[in-house]
Assembly symmetry: C2
Homo-oligomer: 409 residues x 2
């Protein structure tokens, strides 16, 4: 009798984004004439940059000719891309990494989800709250979460990030073996300074904690004092795995490409306290359960770093960040408290008049036909907040602000 992994059965049946989709659909059916503006899901809307398109056409043509055709590539990714990443994302910031410390993948969601494969089921896990649901759900599947009790998993340490603490997480009172940090943060759009991040690296060094650092939104950082990589902090290579993604950096949400950095200095431990290089384990995991990223996509990612690519990608990011500025100013003019949006494509709004996340979501949908994401969907500390994203196109963004002003002022 094939037995199932029963931890899957603990997961609530409802998904945040499908719940939202259902509610939006109901509204659509009952209000067929209203034009809905979707500022909920964090998906990009601008097309790929011309340099990327050109690189892909070239790679497609290579696949048409025997001499340049590519079959299986390295599970870890092609060195043309790894070398380009090392030079542009790390060496340029004074971070020295080896090619074998970089693993190209089909995206940060896969890697943050699969990283648990190399870790024991009984590690304690900490997350900042609100949080990207994949960190939680993948740990539920991996038997690390315990049971769901009034919105919290019993074995997960939630570290609240609220307006009250300026969204700066406090060091946890209970020791954690594994800690997820995502900065610039999804969903709050807030960031950590170098000093604040240093406090976490030092905590990890002192406690042998493994930090899983998700830097998927680093390209949106505008302020020169905010770290793009955790490895800008001394000692971080001993404690942190970093996840990167081309999804938001270069509009690759439909392309599927990211990479994960596993420094060789970073160890996990056996029960007997022996040190084990996590780099070796992740390499073995990827060689066994992954077969490399699509060649054309890797060429596309390489083009992100070409002089034209950089210029074009920066322009798209500026476009979204201009949306973010327009939104932040607009929302503030409406009298709302808004966080994030300065160094991230997310705006985190305190709901007015103490409304719950879902109540404010529904009012905004029914009164001005704008879709956001209820903050509570990201965890208990998200209650009383709503997330908007700056990935819409300009006209919709402007129209959304006009509707909100008319509604709220």
């Amino acid at each position: 009798m094939a037995l199932v992994n029963e931890h899957f059965l603990k997961l609530p049946g409802n998904y945040l984004f499908s719940d939202i989709a259902k509610k939006v659909n109901t509204y659509k059916v009952t209000h067929p004439k209203e034009k809905i503006i979707r500022l909920g899901i964090g998906d990009v809307t601008q097309p790929l940059a011309p340099a990327i398109i050109e690189a892909m056409h070239k790679a497609v043509d290579e696949m048409a000719v025997q001499e340049t055709f590519r079959g299986y590539g390295p599970e870890q990714g092609y060195s043309f891309l790894i070398d380009t990443i090392l030079k542009n994302d790390f060496a340029s910031r004074g971070i020295s990494l080896e090619p074998s410390e970089i693993f190209i993948s089909d995206g940060a969601k896969s890697d943050t989800g699969n990283i648990g494969d190399i870790l024991r089921h009984d590690n304690s896990v900490g997350v900042t709250d609100p949080v990207y649901p994949v960190y939680i759900d993948s740990n539920v599947m991996g038997a690390r979460a315990g049971n769901l009790e009034s919105g919290k998993w019993s074995n997960i340490v939630y570290i609240p990030c609220l307006a009250e603490n300026d969204f700066i997480p406090e060091l946890p009172s209970r020791r954690v073996d594994i800690l997820y940090l995502c900065y610039p943060n999804n969903p709050t759009g807030t960031t950590l300074t170098k000093d604040e991040l240093k406090r976490w690296v030092n905590y990890a060094l002192a406690n042998d904690t493994l930090i899983l650092f998700d830097a998927a939104y680093e390209a949106y950082i505008q302020d020169p004092d905010i770290p793009h990589s955790i490895y800008e902090i001394k000692g971080a290579k001993k404690v942190a795995i970093e996840f990167r993604s081309f999804s938001k950096t270069a509009g690759f949400t439909g392309m599927r490409c990211g990479y994960t950095v596993v420094p060789k200095e970073l160890n996990g431990f056996t029960l007997e306290g022996e040190r084990v290089q996590l780099n070796k384990l992740w390499n073995r995991r990827q060689c066994t359960k992954f077969n490399g990223t699509n060649y054309i996509t890797q060429r596309a990612a390489e083009a992100v770093y070409s002089p034209e690519g950089k210029e074009q990608v920066k322009e798209i990011i500026n476009y979204y960040m201009t949306n973010a500025r327009i939104m932040k100013e607009g929302l503030q003019q409406c009298g709302l408290k808004v966080y994030g949006g300065d160094n991230a494509p997310y705006l985190w709004i305190k709901t007015p008049k103490g409304l719950t996340s879902w109540k404010f979501f529904e009012k905004m949908l029914y009164e001005v036909s704008i879709v956001g994401t209820p903050g509570v969907g990201f965890g208990p500390s998200g209650e009383g907040y709503l997330r908007l994203t700056a990935f819409g196109d300009r006209d919709n963004t402007l129209e959304a602000m006009a509707r909100l002003k008319k509604w709220l002022i």
Copy 2:
């Protein structure tokens, strides 16, 4: 202290294909003038078909324009591809499946590796032997394999496939909860008839065994009596997950696309004996730890089924299968016993004079500069065999046969 998954540490450090690469490299350095012919690794050599190239250029252009740009796609794959698969791979053989029973992925290696996520760690596992190493290694990582004792994992049931039993696996003496079957078989190149496969489906129905059926090589079947899908057998939807791949079907090894069929009739069980739809669990796994397959690749896969695509892909398969015929005849003329190669791109050679797999591998490398894969690398029952693949180009294949004839006759 972050504890590692200690099962990873049980895996032998050496990988079959890296051992081979090292040996080939040594030979290359010491014999710089010899032209090596590689018939070892199962990678394709022919470029992608024109219809596929055309579809990709079109999809690339769509990504350049806002109106047709695609961001996040469905985790399960686009319906344009799922519907095409249902019509061509299943309805055409009288198999009726629903779109939600198909999950598009980045390849069969990922899916056969990750499927263990939804299953308990204490299921018993059976494999035919010799076997594709991913089935074994992913179960070691998933805590299901026990310990390695003289070449075998203590908790895995090995079902020998040898010349002595015509490579037809016998039903296992010890009950298994999960059974891997790969037909046409990698590495032996042999197949099962409908009656033989039916015996396994009936075994699974009687024992509540879950069959993980890997049909990655079905496109190479020439004989009309050999099943392409396990669902051609009555009752199979209640017991089997089927893995498909475009890698060998259409030369997608560098493209990364496959799909997995999880019928809704198929159940796993809780410890209390309750039935759980595996389809739901796999869907949850994919939605949490995977973010869909590259859009351009899905359009490429769709083109495999267009009238031109079908014709062109068939031509490439014929090319490889002509290689296989040339090889089988040539090897037989050399006095070797050869299996497979009629309905699969693999030839499984009994080593002459009782040589071990590695000894014959080395003799062939050093005496005629041809690289094969030692059978023992695929499991204990592979000892005394060597695998050759028909994926080379024609000239190399012909030259390899000429060298072997000169050497062995």
